[in-house]
């Protein structure tokens, strides 16, 4: 496992997503209520970019017509066919056992720690005063 700096924390607002490239892979990075999560960008159905999907909550109903929304901002709907994925785990809501996108470990790390190691962001210099999003692959 290698650690890759992919963004500054303040680049990605709550509820937003961003496409990052790490070790040749396209990864969709999400800020869910201040926590960062990373899943493969490619929808396992037809390959659409999940980073372009709408970030939504979970609609559930015990009764026809009586719907409640929970888990606000924790799912992404694929922009092509609307399949829902749990941003935290990469699992499809409809078929969690068989349909999932790979998810990656994400940490937020002080620049000071990063500059001491062999870590470099590909697109920007790491400064010791800021916080960075780090993906492990």
């Amino acid at each position: 496992m290698a650690r890759h700096v992919v963004a500054k924390v303040d680049e990605l607002d709550i509820g937003k997503s961003k496409l990052v490239k790490v070790a040749g892979r396209d990864i969709a990075l999400f800020n869910v209520k201040g926590e960062f999560f990373a899943i493969a960008n490619r929808c396992p159905h037809e390959g659409a970019d999940l980073c372009r999907g709408q970030v939504v909550g979970l609609a559930e109903a015990e009764e026809p017509g009586k719907v409640r929304m929970t888990r606000h901002g924790e799912l992404v709907r694929c922009p092509w066919h609307g399949w829902e994925f749990d941003i935290r785990t990469g699992k499809s809501w409809c078929d969690p056992a068989r349909t999932r996108v790979k998810s990656f470990d994400v940490t937020v790390t002080k620049g000071g720690t990063l500059t001491e190691g062999p870590y470099q962001a590909e697109t920007f210099p790491v400064s010791i005063d800021e916080d960075y999003v780090v993906v492990e692959i």
Partner: protein, 359 residues
Amino acid sequence: MDTAVAQQRVALSKLGAIDCDVHPDAPKRADLLPYFDEYWKEIVISRDVDRLELTGFPTSTRPFFREDWKATEGSGVDKLRKNLLDSYGLKYAILNCVTGVHAIYDPYLSTAVCRATNDWLKAEWLDRDPRLRASLVLPWQNPEAAVEEIERFAGDKRFVQILALCQGEMPLGRRIYWPIYEAAQRHGFALGVHAGSAYRHAPSQSGFPSYLAEDYVHHIQGFAAQVGSFVAEGVLGKFPDMKIVLIESGVSWLPGQMWRMSKDWRGARIEIPWVKEPPSALVRRQIRLTTQPFDAPRDPGELERIVEHLDSDDMLLFSTDYPHPQFEGEAAIPAGFPERLIDRLVRENALATYPRLED
């Protein structure tokens, strides 16, 4: 009779087969008159309500009736005994009255004719042979009266099902019908949806057909629409103990719709979040099909694959569709039907579908 057919006949008798789609003679006004009150007697005479045929199913149309059965002497239950009950050794036969009673506009006339038809079924058929069971006909456009009719017969367990047409006034999943399903479920009735149109709409989604050859096959569109409606409107989850039997729909069209609905559900689920499982799983659990006509492939060796596509051993119910000519001779079970499922087909699945049917 060839060996396979002879074996089949023995099997039906030995297993106590239950025929889930048998049609009694369509009652005419004279048959129903004793079951109307004074007012409705007056009305059916002065309005000349007589033959009560469905437009799509005139009883004079020759291809609808098997000549050898038609030629048997006698009428009513006697004729049914000779042609079917005795000769096939049936344990039970479920009578489905598919007539103009389903197509009447006037909600009060419809209620009166449904009541008379059910009383006629009871007196002229059920009371005359212990093997007979029946579906209640209901005034669907008058749900309050339909519920009353279910309550009226709740104590007579020989009525095991309520009956609707696959092409009626509205999609059957609509909430307006839910009081009917609530009563049906509470009393253990299954919901039978039979081929036929009340001609409120064109029988195809693209307009009126020109020929009988088209008309009959268009019923499949009606059935497909009803399955979609039952799933999406949430009827299956809301009334989980009420099985829905698609009668005379054919079989092979359904797997494709199950696959397609389950796939589309993944993207459109958010509109119908009360559908918490893939539609195919809901359909397998609650929807049943009678086996005549079977729309089977030409090669009997391929029939098992169609059954496998349903991915369930529970969904198929044996039927003859008497007196309609869906098969030749006595080969009521489609050729190539897997041996291991015969028991379920002719008996077990029906007992699980109709809680009012006693073993």
